[in-house]
Subunit: 223 residues, 2 copies
DNA sequence: GGAACCATGACGGTTTCATGACATTCCGAC
DNA sequence: GTCGGAATGTCATGAAACCGTCATGGTTCC
């Protein structure tokens, strides 16, 4: 079953839409504020998030941006505001679709299906396996020859970022921005952590098979 | 640049929307019938397809289903019909989004961006293939007969620049400016790097098949 | 035949990396 | 709070790879 998280401050709309979606076969959780919604999604991620724009406290745009920082979940805006300006802003913030209230549940349901059709194709793999190396992205652990390798948080995130784009060269800038969320900073930092990672996951010291340096460009994870 | 194929039978709408999208930076091709559109997409695939529902001959729903049989391209319906029933049918047929005419170009553009953001995540790694030579631009690697050829950064960028414009003569000045980001400088520099590249990717020494010198003009990559 | 144009080997200077050592920050235990 | 260890970031160093220049000799054009 598809799970949906709805973030909507109007009690009546929240309840009626939740009921209607449940009739359509969705598992619905609902919160009245962005803060609660973000916490709920962090704790137990839903397959799709519906979000209103006008929310008390953190508004819908901020909520979308915050979700997008860590999550690739499909996001649908449901708002009473129907100016082109708001629609564009919502989509630019990272939403995938935008519906104007009042929404037809059948239409919403069809749009959710269309969205999931796409999202599934790009779904993140819960575990990445490369030879003797297994990276359990969700469990946060890495196995080498079946034994867990103790990685620090930074090392783990760096490895995930590289392995999720296996075969692709990632620049130090990009790694800094994705792993450290620095938009600037010393690129040498990446080198140091790659070196530490190598000592933990490479089989032959001094001869990296997985974490390849591409001189002048960055690093890549070799399948 | 993003390319768009528009299938729309109303001449006025087709022309004005095409112009507006071009202003937004899209490369637009447009056809008046589904049959033409399908042929165009088969021959030279666009990144996104816009399709009207009411078309003479094959209608929009059929057109979407036919596209979906072979192609995972994002499809947006643009229709005057705004019943929930039509919207659901359009999405169920395989469309990713549905806009009701008249469309705001800014909104359309934002929706296209949102759609491409998702579609890109699932896209395979693009590569340029010429006979026994495969250039993986993102992986930063070049395969010759399936084996990777170690290229330096400059060599790689030079090769990409030439191969991306295969068949076209590029002047030394242009190469300097694109590969080295020099706006002036010794043109001999290009020669030296072409020579090094030849030693790595040409099969017969002394008889270049790929990297062709065009005397007095520059170099070109021969397919 | 001469002039312009091009190919390529060699070399020194520079850039780029890998990594060990050290300072700082973070975080849980008490 | 504060103590201690782990995690993280900064720096310095040496080694390796790379780049641009130049010189020489070959080729093409008129």
């Amino acid at each position: 079953m598809t799970s949906v998280l709805m973030i909507e401050d109007d009690d009546r709309i929240r309840r009626s839409l939740a009921l209607a979606l449940e009739d359509e076969g969705y598992a619905v959780r609902a919160t009245a504020t962005a803060e609660e919604g973000l916490a709920a999604q962090k704790q137990q991620p839903a397959d799709t998030v519906l979000v209103d724009l006008m929310l008390p406290g953190l508004d819908g745009f901020d909520c979308i941006r915050e979700l997008r920082r860590h999550d690739d979940v499909p996001i649908v805006v449901i708002s009473a505001r129907n100016d082109t300006h708001d629609i564009v802003a919502g989509l630019e913030a990272g939403a995938d679709d935008y519906l104007v209230k009042p929404v037809a549940v059948k239409e919403l349901s069809a749009r959710l299906r269309a969205l999931r059709r796409r999202a599934r194709a790009a779904a993140p793999v819960p575990a990445l396996v490369f030879g003797n190396l297994e990276i359990r992205t969700l469990a946060g652990e890495v196995l080498r020859d079946g034994r867990t390798v103790p990685l620090t948080r930074t090392e783990f995130r760096l490895l995930c970022e590289l392995a999720e784009h296996a075969g692709m060269v990632l620049s130090r800038q990009r790694l800094l921005s994705r792993v450290w969320e620095y938009d600037f900073g010393d690129e040498r930092l990446v080198d140091v952590h790659v070196a530490r990672l190598r000592q933990k996951i490479e089989d032959e010291p001094g001869c990296p098979r997985r974490l390849i340096t591409v001189r002048g460009m960055g690093y890549k994870f070799q399948r």
